[in-house]
């Protein structure tokens, strides 16, 4: 009698793969809007045409541009005027420390942000100056000279004080670019920083109250509490995260989340940090996986040899 097993195997595998393709790749392609990456080019923003002067940038940042009125620059010894909770109560969210802004954000994004915050952040649907809805960050109107030159100077200064790309860790990238709105509880991160270990419960609760007060301010500012990002690496695809960071409006029109303006490299680091929180065992999975596969292939070979020896007498 002809051996039908190869044909049966082909039929079983073909129907299984067809079903898999229909319910996974095909169904998901129909359910979710596909957004193409723009490779963090920020093509809608004007390119910097002037060469910046670091020294003049420093003068502007600490002087006429009044950046330090709201922003701390700890690296340059400029501390915050008020603590994060008080700052958030005033501005909605704690204004970022500018020490590493130069490495985190794309230059043309920084330039546009300084000139017109709501535009660069893509939150003009929320902050329309004509309707009196002012963005909490005041735009820079120039210090009397050529405004484009002045902005180029500021950007050059910020770039000069920032750590290098290599020194910027995934954790730093996440905390600076995302961590003032988003918590990451699995990494012990709150919107006001990493929660320290307290000896006394009273101190721990006092810290929690500060976090809650800060969160109340963000809820008022954003409409809802931005989600905890601990498991976002598993609940969203990498492509989704990357395109969302690039331009939140492209995936979720009308969202209160501003465009972050980070460079492509920084976005990769942010996603790496999210993987460090939500998929901590990926390296172990790869190494255990390889060993298990080798073991199972040997098991299958021995099982096949055993079958052959047993069945020799049966035919």
């Amino acid at each position: 009698m002809k051996n039908k097993e190869p044909l049966i195997l082909v039929v079983v595998v073909a129907f299984t793969l067809l079903t898999y393709w229909l319910v996974e790749p095909f169904a998901h392609s129909q359910m979710h809007k596909h957004v193409e990456s723009e490779h963090f080019a920020y093509a809608d923003l004007a390119k910097l045409t002037k060469d910046g002067d670091v020294a003049n940038g420093k003068v502007l940042v600490t002087g006429a541009a009044a950046c330090a009125g709201c922003h701390s620059i700890t690296k340059e010894g400029i501390a915050a005027n008020v603590d994060a909770v008080t700052a958030a109560a005033t501005y909605g969210v704690n204004p970022p420390d500018l020490s590493n802004a130069g490495v985190l954000f794309e230059a043309r994004f920084l330039a546009d942000l300084i000139k017109n915050p709501a535009h660069a952040l893509k939150v003009e649907h929320k902050f329309d100056a004509a309707k009196g809805q002012m963005h909490p960050m005041v735009a820079f109107y120039g210090a009397g000279g050529d405004i484009d030159q002045e902005i180029a100077d500021i950007v050059a200064y910020l770039q000069s004080i920032a750590v290098t790309k290599e020194e910027l860790t995934p954790k730093m990238a996440f905390e600076n670019a995302c961590g003032r709105c988003h918590s990451m509880s699995y990494e012990n991160w709150t919107q006001i920083g990493e929660k320290p270990k307290f000896k006394h419960k009273k101190d721990s609760l006092a810290f929690d109250i500060k976090v809650l007060e800060y969160q109340d301010s963000i809820v008022k500012y954003m409409g809802k509490l931005p989600p905890d990002l601990s498991m976002y690496y598993r609940s969203r695809s990498e492509h989704f995260l990357s395109t969302f960071i690039e331009n939140p409006q492209s995936q979720l029109e009308g969202t209160a989340m501003p465009r972050v303006g980070v460079t492509a490299e920084v976005a990769e680091k942010i996603i790496e940090h999210m993987a460090d929180a939500g998929d901590t065992k990926r390296a172990e999975r790869a190494s255990v996986g390889a060993n298990v596969m080798i073991y199972i292939i040997f098991f299958a070979i021995f099982a096949f040899l055993w079958k052959r020896s047993v069945w020799r007498d049966l035919h």
């Binding site: 009698m1 039908k4 097993e5 049966i8 195997l9 079983v12 129907f15 299984t16 067809l18 079903t19 898999y20 229909l22 319910v23 996974e24 095909f26 169904a27 129909q30 359910m31 699995y186 989600p227 601990s230 498991m231 976002y232 598993r234 609940s235 969203r236 695809s237 939500g278 901590t280 065992k281 172990e284 999975r285 790869a286 255990v288 996986g289 298990v292 596969m293 199972i296 292939i297 098991f299 299958a300 070979i301 021995f302 099982a303 096949f304 055993w306 079958k307 020896s309 047993v310 069945w311 007498d313 049966l314 035919h315």
Partner: protein
């Protein structure tokens, strides 16, 4: 009282008390299996192995899981996935096995349908198998609630709502099942109990029944041949192993079972380590939130075909169609009126019916996941009607089948 003599060996000691030799013969060495069967007959062993994987991985997960609505999500995603050594491995094994077990169950079921293995004394095998399908479904659903993610919560909401039975508005029944107006602590704790105790117990009992039901009618074969098991067994025991039409379960058939299991485990562990996404829905990695309905709510892939029978109709008709789909497979041995217990390939119209049913259920599965819009709704409706029509047609097309 039986007469006991001084034992000559440990085996003899056990033999006098437990009849181990007799048990070994009945269960293994003189449990006769036809030779003319193919690898599809190894699906039972694959299911047993997969169930064992689920049981063992489940025991490890149970040591750290916390059935509290405030802790459940973190006990899975933080404690088990990050803190516990190899917790991630047990979870991925458990999640993938829960999905793959249904693939194998469906292959096992369609093998039974194709070869007519529910006929002529094998009705109890079919019925106990279908009961296993139902309990496995309940087990899968209750387990899906436990991580308390968005899909757990909303699938729990949707499925328990079904019990209001549409126009009958039995909201009281829904509340009784949930123990609350919405899925909450009472709901989670009772589904936890069902998942880790009552349903596994029922499954183990039913597996015993399923095996017992196989004992008297024996395993079917791929040619629909009626075998005189006593005569063939005698031939085998007299030394004509090659000429006999039967073989021992162990080690003869078991060696083949193990070969198929080996190949299956390569596939299984490939999924566990490299392609687990299909079994662990991304949406369920967002914690449950009763104020935020996910854009798309869909069940796991193995429930999609029956979900799609519910979905394209108005609520009351949909529920009736859904109820029909849940029980109709049970009635297969009586709806098939043909006297032939042979492969579908030799049964004329039944052959067409078999392949149509298979394709129809794959179409239903695909449409069950896709958003119910435009052409997908239409295809879903046609496939749902087709499913019902196929089952109504079955007695008529098998009634006049000629004896082969």
């Amino acid at each position: 009282m039986a007469h006991f003599t001084k034992a000559t060996s440990v085996k003899d000691w056990l033999n006098q008390r437990l009849a181990v030799e007799k048990i070994e013969k009945v269960m293994a060495s003189e449990y006769w299996i036809p030779k003319n069967i193919n690898f599809l007959w190894a699906m039972g062993m694959i299911l047993a192995i997969t169930f064992a994987l689920l049981l063992v991985s489940g025991i490890f997960l149970l040591m750290y899981y916390n059935p509290d609505v405030n802790l459940a999500f973190d006990s899975v995603n933080y404690t088990i996935m990050r803190e516990v050594d190899f917790g991630w491995l047990w979870r991925h094994v458990h999640g993938v096995a829960a999905s793959v077990v249904f693939l194998v169950i469906y292959i096992h079921m369609f093998t039974g349908i194709y070869y007519g293995s529910y006929k002529k004394g094998r009705e109890m095998i079919w019925l106990s198998g279908m009961l296993l399908f139902v309990t496995f479904s309940a087990e899968a659903f209750s387990g899906y609630m436990l991580p308390w993610g968005q899909m757990s919560y909303w699938a729990g909401m949707v499925i328990t709502n079904i019990f209001s039975l549409g126009g009958l508005h039995m909201d009281g029944l829904v509340e009784w099942i949930r123990g609350d107006y919405v899925p909450a602590q009472a709901f989670l704790t009772r589904f936890f109990m069902l998942h880790v105790f009552l349903l596994p117990l029922a499954i183990m009992g039913l597996i015993g029944l399923h095996f017992a039901a196989l004992r008297i009618p024996h395993v079917n074969n791929q040619d629909g041949e009626e075998i005189d098991f006593d005569a063939e067994a005698k031939k085998y025991l007299d030394g004509d192993k090659a000429g006999s039409k039967v073989m021992r379960f162990a080690n003869d058939f078991m060696s083949k079972d193990m070969m198929v299991v080996g190949i299956y485990l390569i596939f299984f562990f490939y999924l566990v380590f490299y392609n687990y996404g299909f079994a662990m829905d991304p949406v369920n990695f967002d914690p449950a939130n009763g104020l935020k309905t996910p854009t798309h709510i869909y069940p796991e892939w193995y429930f999609l075909w029956s979900y799609e029978i519910l979905r394209p109709f108005s609520i009351n008709i949909g529920l009736m169609a859904f109820g029909f789909a849940q029980v109709i497979f049970m009635l297969l041995p009586w709806l098939d009126r043909s006297p032939n217990a042979v492969p579908a390939s030799r049964r004329g119209k039944f052959k067409i019916w078999f392949w149509l049913l298979l394709v129809d259920m794959i179409v239903l599965t695909a449409m069950g996941k896709l958003p119910p819009q435009g052409i997908f709704s239409t295809i879903g409706l046609v496939a749902a009607l087709g499913f019902i029509a196929l089952w109504i047609a079955l007695p008529f097309i098998t009634m006049n089948e000629k004896k082969v």
